[in-house]
């Protein structure tokens, strides 16, 4: 009997990758680096960054982070239109990236202010660590730099020099590492990266507004923006604005969830069901692959309604749970009892499967070099994309990582070097490869072992407190991999993106330190001017002191929660499931990845995604056709993000103004 011809995983992914490839994969690459972009970055560095830093200190929210890049790009396109000039999508995407980098760059100096605070706290004094905090972290507590709240003082030269050396090394790692992962997952494996077109299509739609002809993209983007404005008004605007006027803000929808965990405990003890009210996720449901969402939801329902209550609870594996607990406590106890360990095993299964898929392709490496561009298993690069040799990427990463480890070794000379080498050269590549694949298929991080750093410190039996202030060579390039895919989709030459980042880096460094210096001079941090940090920093200082001094005994609760049997169970069940599904459903690996992602999850969190997937699959595709819908939905999602971001920025501005007004008696 002739066996039917199986569809391979390769063919399946190739088909999905094609769906997400805008312009049918045919594009020319152009540089996105122009003077206009550099001026745009300057604007962001000097105007947007202070806003986001200030917002963080006041509300602890990094909400400016998501919105600022879109606001910057919209302002940029409006300036272009008023100047009767055009903006290329390559320019806009680079600006979008630089805006994100600018907002993040503000966070680079937060640690200095925090450490300057920590060293002066009574907690640091009581735990006898104040005089042991190393000089490369913060000046001594009697330093004039701390007394006068000045970052522009020579006492800061050592911490800032260490940061600058690390920054140079991190650029080498940050370019080489993610680029290498991109070549392996996007070029060689042809993974689809389903969320990459959202950023790409947003920049494309906005670029079209500056041209003479507007296409469907602008109309769809505007539609998405209006929906985003409406949703942002309900979800962000109303609570933020009423929070300014009233002691308790009004929430039209409870944020972030409506918790039904206590309602289901009668028939599903230890089960979690908390409906996410962030219905913006419906847009992600439109974009993500339908089989992934459906199976993810099924996996989550199975976990919370069958596996947890009927098997694990009855077997007394989930033994910390008690009736009446809410979603957070149930989740924490279930995690400590079982899911934390199981999740580690599940993540390792993802790595093993990734290696199994990639190894035959490495074996056929010579053949890969002869394959056509865009073919799975090919390492050929499209002309003009701005690629550089893989050996150079590896070399950059190795030099960056070796230098980084040397720097850490200089900081903590008594800590065993072998641990640092293991983390840098073994853990980081494995973690990054797993997460690069996870982003390529699921658009989210899958592998995250918490407390890795703490575990290594305990295992090393190192007792000096300087270890707690030193960086560790634990990095994850998974999310960074998607950035290269977006560059490819927007037709942006890779080298122009690298050049833009390197050129604007000094601008952002200088503006960051000036802004922090200014804000610190305004008022002590923490103080009544900055309510969020005033509320949280004292308790955070106590926590840090406890960690620094208590973990030496090796009694960390999370460390004790890792159980080998359950880690093996996670690994074994995931591998078995993958193998059996490979046999039974050939060419349907998306089902497996969805199921794997859903096991252990809360189904309530996935409901908005499910709604989006169902509406897309059974209404939108019928109405617009598959090809048109896959063209529309990333643009719609980008517009929606932009609309929500605009509401966020506007409400933050109003809230900031109201906080800046000092009410006097007369």
């Amino acid at each position: 009997m002739a066996r039917r011809v199986r569809e391979t995983q390769a063919e399946e992914w190739q088909a999905w990758a094609k769906r997400y490839d805008i312009d049918d994969g045919i594009r020319t690459f152009e540089s996105g680096l122009t003077w206009k972009v550099i001026f745009g970055a300057l604007f962001i560095g000097l105007i947007m960054m202070p806003g986001s830093i200030y917002l963080q200190l006041i509300s602890g929210e990094f909400s400016g982070g998501a919105a600022a890049p879109w606001v910057a790009v919209i302002l940029f396109t409006e300036l272009a239109r008023r100047s009767f000039t055009t903006a290329k999508r390559q320019e806009l995407y680079i600006l979008l990236g630089l805006a994100g980098a600018a907002v993040a760059a503000g966070g680079r100096y937060t640690g200095y202010i925090w450490n300057a605070y920590l060293i002066q706290t009574p907690q640091a004094e009581n735990f006898e660590i104040a005089d042991k905090i190393p000089r490369w972290v913060v000046p001594p507590k009697d330093s004039i730099a701390i007394a006068t709240r000045s970052l522009l003082h020579s006492d800061w030269s050592l911490p800032i020099t260490v940061m600058l050396i690390n920054l140079v090394l991190s650029q080498l790692r940050g370019i080489g590492g993610p680029y290498l992962m991109f070549r392996l997952t996007a070029d060689l494996e042809r993974l689809p990266f389903p969320m990459a077109p959202v950023s790409a299509q947003g920049a494309t739609a906005l670029a079209e507004t500056t041209g003479k002809e507007e296409t469907w993209r602008w109309r769809v983007f505007s539609l998405g923006s209006m929906a985003g404005l409406f949703w942002g008004g309900i979800y962000i605007g109303v609570p933020s604005l009423t929070g300014v006027m009233m002691s308790k803000p009004i929430q039209i929808l409870p944020i972030p969830v409506i918790d039904f965990t206590q309602s289901i405990e009668g028939f599903a003890p230890t089960g979690i069901f908390a409906l996410s009210t962030n219905f913006a996720m419906i847009l992600s449901g439109f974009v993500m692959p339908f089989p992934v969402i459906i199976t993810q939801f099924m996996g989550a329902v199975f976990t919370q309604f069958i596996l947890n209550p009927q098997i694990l609870y009855r077997a007394e594996i989930l033994n910390l749970w008690k009736p009446g607990l809410d979603m957070r406590s149930t989740g924490l106890y279930n995690s400590l009892n079982f899911w934390f360990s199981f999740g580690i095993g599940k993540s390792f299964a993802f790595a093993v499967i990734g290696l199994a898929v990639a190894t035959p392709m490495f074996v056929k490496f010579r053949e890969a070099r002869q394959k056509e561009v865009g073919e799975r298993g090919s390492l050929q690069t499209p002309p003009g994309r701005g690629d550089f040799p893989i050996w150079l990427a590896i070399g950059m990463w190795v030099v960056g990582m070796a230098g980084y480890i040397y720097l850490i070794h200089w900081m903590i000379p008594n800590f065993p070097l072998i641990f640092l080498l293991g983390l840098g050269f073994i853990y980081t590549p494995i973690d990054s490869y797993i997460n690069a694949r996870a982003f390529g298929i699921l658009s989210r991080r899958l592998f995250q072992v918490p407390y890795v750093r703490e575990s290594f410190i305990i295992v090393s039996r190192y007792e000096e407190i300087d270890i707690w202030f030193a960086p560790f060579p634990i990095e994850d390039y998974g999310a960074g991999t998607q950035h290269w895919r977006v560059l490819e989709l927007t037709g942006t030459r890779f080298t122009s993106d690298i050049a833009a980042r390197l050129i604007t880096l000094p601008i952002l460094l200088v503006s960051g330190i000036l802004v922090w210096h200014f804000i610190w001079k305004l008022a002590p941090i923490p103080s009544a001017q900055y309510p969020y940090v005033q509320y949280f920093w004292p308790i955070n200082a106590t926590n840090q002191c406890l960690w620094v001094t208590a973990l030496r005994d090796g009694r960390g609760q999370m460390i004790q929660a890792i159980r080998g049997t359950y880690v093996s169970a996670g690994l074994g069940s995931s591998l078995g499931l993958y193998g059996l599904m490979w046999l039974i459903f050939p060419g349907k690996s998306m089902y497996f990845y969805g199921l794997l992602g859903g096991i252990g999850e809360d189904p309530g969190r996935l409901i908005p995604l499910l709604i989006g997937a169902l509406v897309g699959r059974f209404y939108m595709i019928k109405k617009f056709g598959l090809k048109r819908w896959f063209m529309f939905n990333p643009v719609l999602a980008a517009g929606f993000t932009c609309g929500t971001g605009l509401v966020g920025m506007a409400t933050v501005a109003i809230a900031l103004l109201s906080k800046a007004v000092i009410v006097t008696q007369f």
């Binding site: 056929k364 074994g572 046999l583």
Partner: protein
């Protein structure tokens, strides 16, 4: 080769289920079964890349 791959995966999966039910999750039995499944999965992808087209012809 496809038959061998299928055999390894089914054997490993059955072994793992038995290690959970009969051996109460004893880690060594789990590891042995996982090893068999992993070999099966590696073999499956090697089969897809190298032998599938030949068998199809």
């Amino acid at each position: 080769m496809y038959i061998l791959v299928a055999f390894l995966i089914i054997l490993g999966s059955a072994g793992w289920i038995l290690s959970i039910i009969v051996m109460k999750g004893e880690i060594i039995y789990q590891l042995i079964s996982m090893g068999v499944i992993a070999i099966g999965i590696f073999a499956a992808h090697f089969w897809e890349e190298f032998f599938r087209d030949r068998e199809k012809k």
